[in-house]
Symmetry: C2
Subunit: 604 residues, 2 copies
């Protein structure tokens, strides 16, 4: 079945809900005899019935017999636990390399029925049109995918060139759209603190629209700058990593979002603010931020986060609140989602055990959409605009020469001292390394013995034919190989890392051919390919296929000598010109400590 | 000084707040070295500074030295406790017999800085114009007086005639006004449950405007009708009186408002839902509902309620949350009021002791407005529209004959069997009594030996010259006397209770002369007068004067033999045709069990 996703506004159906609750009109569906997890009172209520109509809860109480008519579907819960559908308070769909429909398909069996989404990646490729396209598919879905307007596109103005920019005017326009609930994470915290007019304007526009300003304060300094950032009005933050980060945010009237993503592990160290310090838990929210397709397929989504919070010692009812009512309240939607109570969207999970959270049945807006891990619905998919499938434009076929790095003038001794991006395993920051690299003829070569290979950034938004070359250390690659990816935060040009210029050109041209994704080449042959034809970021195939291709890519990277955790992520973050120390963008090598472009070679 | 009440929207001043927090711009006021009651984290933080600019908190942290400039006012708190200004979640200003400005004046020294107000009484007199007039004065004040649109005017359609009606169209219009935050208590719960289209329309209009539907479910039945009422969408309810009432409301996703008014004592029995049952306290809110001027002057306002909740065993921090952040969150204003955190309106109290809550200094929007119980500001007052001061129109001078009650035809034996309204002390409901009353000539007389006197309702909105006569039992009046009042819930005609027709006419004419209030006459002389010239409900004199006049009135009632608790309230509720059993309205005697008009005399 194709699920009809339309849900009428609550105010249009209150007469119907009252009629069902009184028994004058039959419910569409009744769940009988469940143990109801009430996130308002923080209790488990035994022997409860739930009657649903118009996709919303109409009656929640001890006996819904009077709500049952001839056509009412009856679900005998037999004492199973019923809890509200789970909400992800902050996330990027593109991190799953899936379209919203495919992402929803992957997470619905895991009990996620609401997501608050910042489409920051596609915005860097396609601007507001990309946001609009994401939103168009989001609103078609049978679960709730609320959208924010990305705030920082580009992330590092002056140091990179995105496919499109988001301006305060764009933010003002998008705030009028259906389904837009706020501003995406305000990452430019130095801008906010420094009084940057563009950043403040975006926040002001969001507040004036009565919507929520997402925060992102990625600094350990909890002194004056942090307080100034809070004064700007960011309402939440998911960048905390220590207990004191969470405590500080809550004390400033922000909500602390604790994340467990594919590569984020920030719940355990922060949840002690509740479990040990005893703070009021209402201002803590669970989220994923970034989950790749493999995590979704193999480990789950918000169910994984709630389970993890419980395993960290959190009261199961509090953990559920942190993924339901707390999130709903934060976004001003506590009367619409986040609990099992009259009037709310009938998003409800049946589980047999709260601690293990094995989800047996998932109802979204009153329809059974997944059972025992299996999706029962076919989700509607949007017609993506043509430009979203034509986003990789390198301008011309690239050749080996595009990846040649000329020795600096006046260099001597057959060697050149280069600034090399040093990978730090399991961390987003990089190191600036100074490495002496061999020169042969007029070209500087990578050095396998130093574990240095080439890293190039290929402009792909405007067909400029521009290639910026540099070096990276730490991938462990050996043999003739190259890997290219159009997932290249935050501007999402194309990053090509390789030991061999020929393979680099092959990989880059291949991605231009398939319109994006990731491709690994070894000795002139393609060893792995993840096709991401939508904006070069997302696939519209099923998550399991994307996960399988991603796994194959990881294996191929390993076969080439790379054994880093989250190796693909390290690759895709090489251009992230907002996190220190050294990055590569379409404008050159960037020293992120100084926010300035630097030469590849040190003097001489 | 006249306080300037204007406060710029938060989004207009975030640049300024950030500048203050960083020290680039000096704060207007800095409070140094307080123990800060943080209602977000539910902690007391020692040695905190608070910097304020633009009427809002700019910095809340350990050291605001960098926010201090030459012109910054510095308040040395010396370790005093700082807590957010208190919020009253549900109340009627008219119950204080004071205009909004005079009410604000009375409660500000008690730490109330926010009120959520249902101007239901004036709406019964003047309709939407009355609401507009209340709102006009409310928005001028230096504290936050948010307004709801009364939902049930008249309260008992078909059984009474108010001065004006409120229609769904009126509700729709008012939802567009500045400062309107929702729909006033939906008292017509049988209507909601029964699917009354007008009631559902008002609720739907409110929800569609993104505002809050106030509830009022005044029934002990927590079964099907209660669930159906919840399905209608009321977001709160203050009518609970038992622990299970509060529990039931919270479980249905409503907020339980626990009230302590002049004559409401509903906190103690319901707060055990938190203190004993351990429910999540976030959905409990403190309110007053109705406070008369004497209570305000002698006992306080929200400080009294918080103090009382603490004395009932509530954790002081939880009690403060229930009068601050819980209320703010309920109305979608958690980023605007209700806590001491950046960006919020700088409403803050300095107290030396949380349990006793003796309020030493009150700051509203960053200005010191009261110190040690003394108001430091002169509050602005609106020009009330002419019709609000010309609201008592009996059509003509009344005479003794208007209060003559003719014996029923065919009555015999010099006696008539009458339906008499029986007062129940300390309760709003009345009893229907059947009493045989003496007939002399053609008239039926009251009977002092049965404690029955006359109760008349004089139409006063349209000058219809209509008087409805009846009997009441239980006031204890003796001698020749009468008391008249234009406070006469809910239509607020004029109720005249008396033992003597001459005094009844004198009292009624006196109120027509002074344009409303309450007047007690004894043996042809006026013994007490409370002048309420605005809509016949409110005075624009200081609370202490109104309290003194009220006290004198109570004493005069006692001198006439009435020793009821809240005697004036019993008088003013005689026309309340929504609470059983027997009432008197401008249309006649009403049996509220059947919602129908009945004859004064039983057959024959």
């Amino acid at each position: 079945m194709i699920v009809q996703s339309q849900i009428q506004p609550r105010h249009e159906v209150i007469g119907s809900l009252v009629a069902v609750a009184t028994g004058r009109r039959p419910a569409d569906l009744v769940i009988r005899n469940c143990r109801l997890v009430n996130v308002h009172s923080r209790e488990i209520l035994s022997a409860q019935d739930i009657a649903i109509a118009n996709g919303r809860f109409a009656y929640c109480g001890p006996d819904a017999s009077h709500c049952i008519g001839e056509l009412t579907i009856i679900v005998e819960a037999g004492g199973l636990m019923a809890l509200p559908g789970l909400c992800d308070g902050h996330m990027h769909i593109e991190s799953g390399m899936l379209t919203p429909a495919r992402f929803a398909e992957a997470v619905m069996p895991h009990g996620t029925t609401t997501m608050f989404v910042d489409p920051h990646e596609i915005a860097n490729v396609l601007g507001l049109k990309g946001v609009e396209a994401m939103n168009a598919e989001a609103v078609m879905q049978p679960i709730n995918i609320f959208m924010q307007v990305p705030s920082c596109v580009p992330s590092a103005p002056g140091l990179e060139t995105p496919g499109a920019e988001i301006t305060p005017m764009d933010v003002a326009e998008a705030m009028q759209w259906e389904n837009i609930v706020g501003l995406g994470e305000m990452m430019n915290f130095p801008g906010v603190i420094g009084g940057d007019e563009k950043m403040l304007a975006e926040m002001a526009i969001t507040m004036a629209a009565g919507k929520v300003v997402g925060g992102h304060y990625a600094s350990p300094d909890l002194g004056m700058p942090f307080h100034a950032y809070a004064a700007g009005g960011a309402a939440d933050d998911h960048e905390g990593t220590r207990e004191r980060d969470a405590v500080a945010r809550v004390r400033q009237g922000m909500r602390a979002m604790l994340r467990l993503g594919s590569a984020w592990y920030d719940v355990e160290r922060q949840v002690t603010a509740i479990t040990e310090r005893g703070l009021d838990p209402r201002n803590f929210i669970l989220c994923t931020d970034d989950c790749n397709a493999q995590t979704l397929v193999e480990d789950g989504h918000m169910d994984r986060v709630v389970r993890h919070a419980i395993s960290c010692g959190c009261d199961p009812l509090v953990a559920v609140q942190m993924a339901t009512i707390n999130t709903a309240t934060h976004f001003g939607m506590e009367r619409e989602i986040g609990s099992i109570a009259p009037g709310r969207r009938a998003d409800v999970l049946l589980v047999d055990n709260l601690e293990e959270l094995s989800i047996l049945q998932v109802f979204a807006r009153g329809r059974l959409v997944a059972r025992e891990g299996k999706l029962l619905a076919t989700l509607p998919r949007a017609d993506w605009p043509r430009e979203s499938r034509q986003s990789v434009n390198t301008g011309r076929e690239l050749t080996d020469d595009d990846f040649s790095i000329c020795a600096p003038p006046g260099g001597g001794n057959g060697a050149a001292l280069a600034r090399v991006i040093g990978i730090i395993e399991n961390q987003a920051p990089t190191k600036e390394l100074l490495v002496e690299l061999p020169v042969s003829g007029s070209l500087v070569n990578a050095s396998a013995t130093e574990d240095v290979c080439q890293a190039a950034l290929v402009e792909r938004h405007r067909g400029a034919g521009r290639v910026v070359n540099g070096f990276v250390q730490g991938f462990g690659y050996n043999g003739d190989m190259a890997m290219a990816s159009t997932v290249a935060h935050d501007c999402h040009h194309m990053i090509v890392v390789g030991t061999c210029r020929q393979n680099m050109a092959l990989a880059a041209n291949r991605l231009a051919e398939v319109q994006g994704g990731a491709s690994l080449w070894r000795e002139g042959e393609e060893a792995a390919l993840v096709e991401l034809p939508i904006a070069g970021l997302m696939s519209d195939r099923k998550a399991k296929h994307v996960a399988a291709a991603s796994r194959k890519l990881s294996e191929a990277m390993a076969q080439c000598g790379c054994h880093l955790n989250n190796a693909f992520m390290q690759h895709s973050l090489l251009a992230l010109a907002v996190i220190p120390e050294l990055r590569i963008t379409d404008l050159g090598l960037v020293d992120v400590r100084k926010f300035e472009l630097v030469d590849l070679f040190c003097n001489g």
